[in-house]
Every structure is written in structure tokens, then in C-alpha cells.
């Protein structure tokens, strides 16, 4: 079977999850590659979730929250925005393409926007190909060699 991108999506309950739901109920077509996980607010998004997702086999991770100014907990999405910049920097330093991680804003009424972003992000990951974290098995040739 050919490779299909596996993407973890973390969506805030109040805007983006509802937006994604709307995309579904409006019967919009978009790729099925994103496995959606609902959270109360992107402010709860611990960077460790991103790392864990990659470790567990995700090729990409997308986080989506309310538009700036619309977070139901005031500041959550701004916290996430700052984290996102640092997450990308750390990923890049580890050789993991920073485009494998994306932060977006989708409101409850923007089902079409979610559908568009999903398709676009899936395409980005498809172009980047599968994430292959380096393990000893990959380095086997050199691990025991002189």
C-alpha cells in the first residue's frame, strides 16, 4: 500500500473543533489524514504533545485555535503562538522540517477554512514525505562498524 500522511490535529473546543464539525455537517470534502484531538483551549497545548505525536508516528502536527482576540480564556492562543515559534525552532535544529508543525486559527463558523487548511497541510506533509526519526536501526551500518 502506498504511504499516506498521518497527521495529529489538536483543536480547541470553542472555535476550531466546532469549525471542523461544521465542515463535516456541511459535507465539505477534505482529506481524511488528520486525526483530531479536542482540547479546551490551545493554551493547554503542552509542547510535549507535539513531540509525543511525532515519536508515536505522526508525520505532521497541526494545532488550531480561536482567532487572536477570540480565545475564550483570553490569552491561551497567544501563549500557543509563542510556543509554536519555539517548537519550530527546536524541530528545525533537530533536522525535523519546521513545516511539519503548523498553528492556525479557525473560528466556529469557518468550516470551509478548516477544510482548506486540512487539504493544504496534508499536501505539505505529502510533499515532505514520511518522518523518519533516527534510531539505531537506521544507523545500523555505522553503529557497530569501526
Amino acid at each position: 500500500m502506498s504511504w499516506e500522511p498521518k497527521i495529529a490535529g489538536f483543536l480547541c473546543n470553542w472555535c476550531s473543533y466546532t469549525g471542523a464539525d461544521l465542515a463535516g455537517t456541511s459535507r465539505l470534502h477534505y482529506p481524511p489524514n488528520i486525526r483530531v484531538i479536542r482540547m479546551m483551549c490551545t493554551g493547554r497545548m503542552d509542547p510535549v504533545f507535539v513531540f509525543k505525536a511525532f515519536q508515536a508516528g505522526a508525520d505532521g502536527v497541526i494545532v488550531s485555535g480561536c482567532h487572536p482576540g477570540d480565545c475564550h480564556y483570553q490569552e491561551g492562543n497567544f501563549k500557543m503562538l509563542r510556543r509554536a515559534h519555539l517548537i519550530k525552532r527546536v524541530l528545525a535544529d533537530l533536522g525535523i522540517h519546521p513545516d511539519r508543525f503548523r498553528l492556525t486559527w479557525v473560528s466556529a463558523s469557518e468550516g470551509d477554512r478548516w477544510a482548506r487548511f486540512s487539504a493544504d497541510f496534508t499536501q505539505t506533509i505529502r510533499t515532505l514525505g514520511p518522518l523518519k526519526l533516527t534510531s539505531d536501526s537506521i544507523l545500523e551500518g555505522t553503529y557497530n562498524a569501526a
Binding site: P47, Q55, F78, H85, L86, D93, G95, L139, T142, A146
Partner: protein, 328 residues
Amino acid sequence: MKPKLALYWAASCGGCEIAVVDVEEHILTIADFFDIVLWPVAMDFKYKDVEAMPDGEITLCLFNGSIRNSENEHMAKLLRAKSKVLVAFGSCAQEGCIPGLANLFTKQQIWDYVYKQSPSTVNESGIFPQPINKMPEGTIEIPTMWDTVKPLNQVVDVDYYVPGCPPQSDQILNVVVAVIDILKNGQPLPPKGTILGAGDKTCCDECGRERKEKKIKKFVRPHEIIPNPKECLMDQGIVCCGPATRSGCGAKCTAVNVPCRGCYGPPPDCLDPGAKMISALSSVIDASEPEEIDSILATLTDPVGTFYRFNLAASILGRGQMEVRKQS
């Protein structure tokens, strides 16, 4: 018969050994209670003496250093078999420590730099270390370097951990006294995997500095400012790994105006110190616009080397994607 004690160094700087000696006169208590059967830094025992012992003969082995060559690995496996209790002693054995940062490169890259490119190297005939060398006098064998630096528990089963680079001598003494007490009174050992000689909070909890609401417009490196001795260093723009580090050292570094570098490893329930530092720094940066966030972050030097200085080899993403890194 006295219980037997082994102390060993694998890929180690020797600092952990010095920390043991730094328990000063108490070393006599240790030597009195235990029969020391291996301690390469201080005493002359041969590997073959250990190889000749029955399995489980050594009561306690304090193992420092990471595993990065064939000799380290052989000794880790040997001492595991011969010891009832194997302790990963110090950051190198616990989580890879500074040597673990070598995992950002391949063995080939490291060798090319060290034996060819470094400015102080002259090696016109391109000689690299060979594990087997035939000489007129006979054959010499040296250990083979592996491509990956590993903490002890990625190679053998480990019973306990003593964190620190190096562990503080007062904590070493606490651990040894507790072990002697357990052995004397026949008490049960702590649960396997317990972190000994450290606290269960963060370094910030031990740090006496005053914390306020943090609003950083720019990060500075420690040599660029003279920090206020009372205020949290992070509030002053210095990256301090206190929030992502286990308590136990008594916040020794911040007490002398130096940021915590994270040598006591992650605190309880922290799966990845780098992730924790991303959260901690993100909450001190005073910006909400992408451009300003970027310009503040541009003042931050080497996040991977700073956040994972002691634990890259044990981190969730480990070496990342080497193939991509190599090209950059």
C-alpha cells in the same frame, strides 16, 4: 563478610569520581563498611578480577559515564551481571549528559572534525584510530567507538538513579548512608527506578530568588549583564533551566548568579525537559505579534543545546532526523 562495592567510569569526564572523593573523611566509613572490589580511578583492580566473580557477587555498583564504545558496553553488561544493585550514577549514566550532545552528529562527522578539520589538527596522512593495530611487538586492541551515545538504561537494566553533573557530595553521602543503613538493618530497598539523592520538586523551589511577572523583550547571555542577585534570572532575560530541573542540589548555581543549566535532570512528571523549557520561555516573552516574537527569539542562542544540555540522549525526539540535519 563485608558487602562488596564497585565504582566504575564509562564515557565519563572523571567529575563523578571526584565528587565521590569529595565526601572527605566519610570515605573511610565507606571503605570500612564495604569491601571495594573495583574503582579504576583510585585502586588497581583488573577487569579479569571482576570477570572471575560469580554473578550477583557485588552488592552495590555505582556506575558513572555514558555508553559510547565497545569497552563501555562490555563493562556495563559485566557489572550488571555481577551486581545485585546497579545505580546509574550522575547525569552521563542517567541521561547521557554532555557527551549525549554528540548524538546531534554522526561518528563520521565527529571523526572528520577531530582528526582532520579542527584548526589545531595536522594529520596529512589521514590517520584515524583503528581498533586493531598490528605492531612488531604484537597486536594492540583499543575500544571501538559507537555511533550513538547512550545512557546506561538503554544498554542494561538499571535499579536506581543518582542525578547530577556531578551529584553533589552531600547527596552522595546521604545515598551511601541510607544504603548502609538498609543493608545493616535488613530493610527493604526502595522501589526499582527510584531517583536517589535528589528532591521531588524543581530547582526553582530551592532557589531563593524573587519571581515577578516576567516580561522579556530580549534574552541575554550570562556574561552580558551583571545580574541582580535577588531577582529571578529568567526575569532578567537569562535563560535558566530551573523550571525544567529536579531539585536536590540546593540551587547551587543560581546562588552565585549563574543560571541553572539543568544537570539534575527533569523533575517528576516531566517527560521532556526541552518541552518544559519551551513552555517556560513562552510564558516570559512579552509579545503577541509573530514578528516581535521572532525578533525576541532571535536573541536566544542554541535552544537545543541549552534545553537538552544534559538529556538529549534520553529525550523524546532524540537525534531527530539525522539525514536532514546532516545536509544543513
